[in-house]
């Protein structure tokens, strides 16, 4: 409405100016300008496609929701500040998509016993789960599980590999 009203004002001014400057026929100028404003220049028969996949922000390449891994320091089970924005983005997404569910898989490096590492991986998954629930995500949308040291992403025995495996992954179901 506002645009149309402004347009009407502009048109009215144009008419006024035109009327002042030279003798132009009012009917010829006014009608096409008003018509153009009402239709906003669009072809009434055009069709544009919506892609449900790309519309979901979860699938936007390079978007924050494409980040699904949260890394932890050695012997630590606290979500670091640098990953808070990732957790918040997933919380926001889950809160606005109540039908979506995730599994958080905690992982550890390969040093130490399998069962104790499974419990440590659970601690990392649980840290992310708790952060999401604090941000309002429903318990029913999130499950925290551990893969312990059983599914290492990096298989080396160096600090870089260990660091890569100290991780929780968010997996959408």
């Amino acid at each position: 409405m506002l645009n149309i009203r402004n347009f009407a004002l502009v048109v009215a001014s144009a008419i006024l100016l035109a009327a002042c400057s030279s003798p132009v026929k009012l009917d010829d100028k006014a009608v096409p300008v008003v018509d153009s404003g009402a239709n906003n220049g669009a072809d009434a028969r055009s069709v544009n496609t919506v892609d449900a996949g790309s519309a979901d922000p979860l699938n936007q390449p390079g978007g924050i929701l494409s980040k699904r891994s949260i890394y932890f320091d050695f012997d630590s089970y606290i979500v670091k500040d640098e990953f808070k924005s990732v957790v918040e983005a997933h919380a926001q997404y889950l809160n606005s998509h109540k039908n979506r569910k995730i599994i958080i898989q905690g992982n550890t490096d390969d040093r130490g016993g399998r069962e104790y590492n499974l419990a440590l991986g659970q601690k990392r998954a649980e840290a992310v789960r708790k952060a999401l629930v604090l941000l309002g995500v429903s318990d029913t949308q999130v499950e925290a599980v551990s893969l312990g040291k059983e599914k290492p992403k990096a298989t080396g025995s160096d600090e870089a590999s260990y660091a890569e495996n100290r991780r929780s992954d968010i997996v959408y179901q």
Binding site: G112, G113, R114, E115, V145
Partner: protein, 412 residues
């Protein structure tokens, strides 16, 4: 070793003043059994390997073949250095089974210590040989032999994980479960017919009990979060498990059919790896309630826990000996993960392994040995050590990465 000396039967009259396994061994001659080439495996070769592996015997070489019906001049064998002599025979029966007979003779006393006759199908020739070795061990050492027992373990070959069962010498392997996802923490039921384990086939850890004979599988625990660390009660009616259904990992107990779940620990940290004591009255478990992981003990019905391990800052994977007197566990000290035992009567701690990435100890059912997983050349292998640390063996198997051994019980 005083316990071993005390347990040796007086009637053996052999040189058994053992001050240590390996330091003093019982010299024994094992003659070839008559017609033993008829059977699929050479019975006496298996007996010899079993006895030699135990570290308790010195095998006196002989090329003689002597049936159990033969009258033997025992002083001659004594003169050849043998304190005991084993003789026997193999016969094919009309129904296709093999009849294996044997005698164990004391050359010092010139007396028979034992005699057995066993008829078994051809595929049980190995078991028959192991049972004879068990009988020899028991008569001469004074404790039940474990050569006829079986082990289960996990092998990773390429992308495949398998739960396998083998004789205690690693021979005669059979596949119980195949999966493309990890399998961990196998545990034999006390009657030896089932194995409980954790499988990741549902993309998360779930506890199953599998009947080895019928292949029937029961999901014992598949609660929200991780389900792991099954351990049988001595009567086989219950399993202690670790669940993360209420947040962090805690110890629970559940009936072996999956019913009547009860939570036993209540902490804000990790409580895992529960193990029933031999009498079923207590549960040992790993907890980080004091910081790093340590081993604790509580009543099998839950309640207050007492800390058991104090040496070092990382002690995990408790296993209790069949007599309840010794605790085996893995301790990390100076970056090495090694097998330790703790004498629960005097809190004396002893390191048993020289390897550095040890995991998952498991007592032999007679309590004399501990099998554990270790690593050699970045591949998992199994090792066995006597509880006194004197006898050490490496169980190398064909191919693959072997881990998570569990030593099965005595079977009929």
């Amino acid at each position: 070793m005083s316990a071993l000396v005390a347990s040796v039967p007086a009637q053996a009259q052999l040189r058994i003043e053992t001050s240590g396994v390996g330091a003093s061994q019982i010299p024994i001659a094992i003659a070839g059994f008559s017609d033993e080439n008829l059977a699929p495996q050479q019975v006496t070769a298996i007996i010899k390997a079993d006895l030699a592996r135990s570290g308790m015997f010195k095998i006196i070489d002989t090329g003689d073949v002597i049936s159990e019906a033969t009258q033997v001049n025992l002083p001659d064998w004594k003169a050849r250095g043998a304190d005991a002599l084993v003789i026997g025979s193999v016969q094919r029966l009309a129904d296709g089974r093999f009849d294996v007979r044997y005698r164990l003779l004391d050359t010092v006393k010139s007396a028979q210590l034992s005699a057995m006759a066993m008829a078994a199908a051809p595929q049980y020739t190995r078991v028959t040989a192991h049972k004879i070795a068990d009988d020899i061990y028991e008569k001469l050492i004074g404790a039940r032999g474990t050569f006829a027992t079986r082990i289960a373990y996990i092998i990773k070959a390429g992308k495949e994980y398998r739960l396998e069962v083998a004789d205690s010498d690693g021979e005669g392997t059979q596949v119980a479960l195949r999966s493309n996802e990890p399998i961990i923490s196998p545990a034999w039921s006390p009657d030896g017919t089932k194995v409980a384990y954790v499988s990741f086939e549902a993309k998360k850890p779930v506890v199953y009990v599998q009947n080895l004979i019928t292949k029937q599988r029961i999901v014992v625990a598949n609660y929200k979060g991780s389900n792991s660390a099954p351990s049988w009660s001595p009567d086989g009616s219950k399993l202690a498990i670790a669940l993360a259904r209420d947040g962090l990992t805690q110890v629970y107990v559940v009936n072996s059919d999956g019913g009547n779940l009860r939570r036993l620990t209540q902490t804000n940290g990790i409580d895992t790896e529960p193990q029933f004591s031999a009498d079923g009255q207590s549960i040992y478990f790993t907890s980080d309630r004091s910081g790093g992981p340590q081993i604790y003990k509580m009543s099998a019905s839950g309640g207050d826990a007492q800390r058991v391990t104090f040496g070092g800052s990382y002690n995990i994977s408790p296993r209790i000996s069949p007599d309840g007197k010794t605790l085996a566990y893995i301790s990390q000290r100076g970056g090495r993960f090694q097998l330790y035992v703790l004498d629960l009567s005097n809190n004396q701690e002893q390191r048993l392994s020289d390897t550095v990435k040890d995991e998952s100890p498991s007592f032999s059912p007679n309590g004399k040995y501990i099998m554990y997983a270790t690593e050699s050349g970045r591949r998992g292998s199994l090792a066995v050590v006597s509880v006194d640390g004197r006898v050490k063996q490496r169980l190398t198997m064909q191919a693959g990465d072997i881990r998570e051994p569990t030593w099965g019980p005595f079977m009929k």
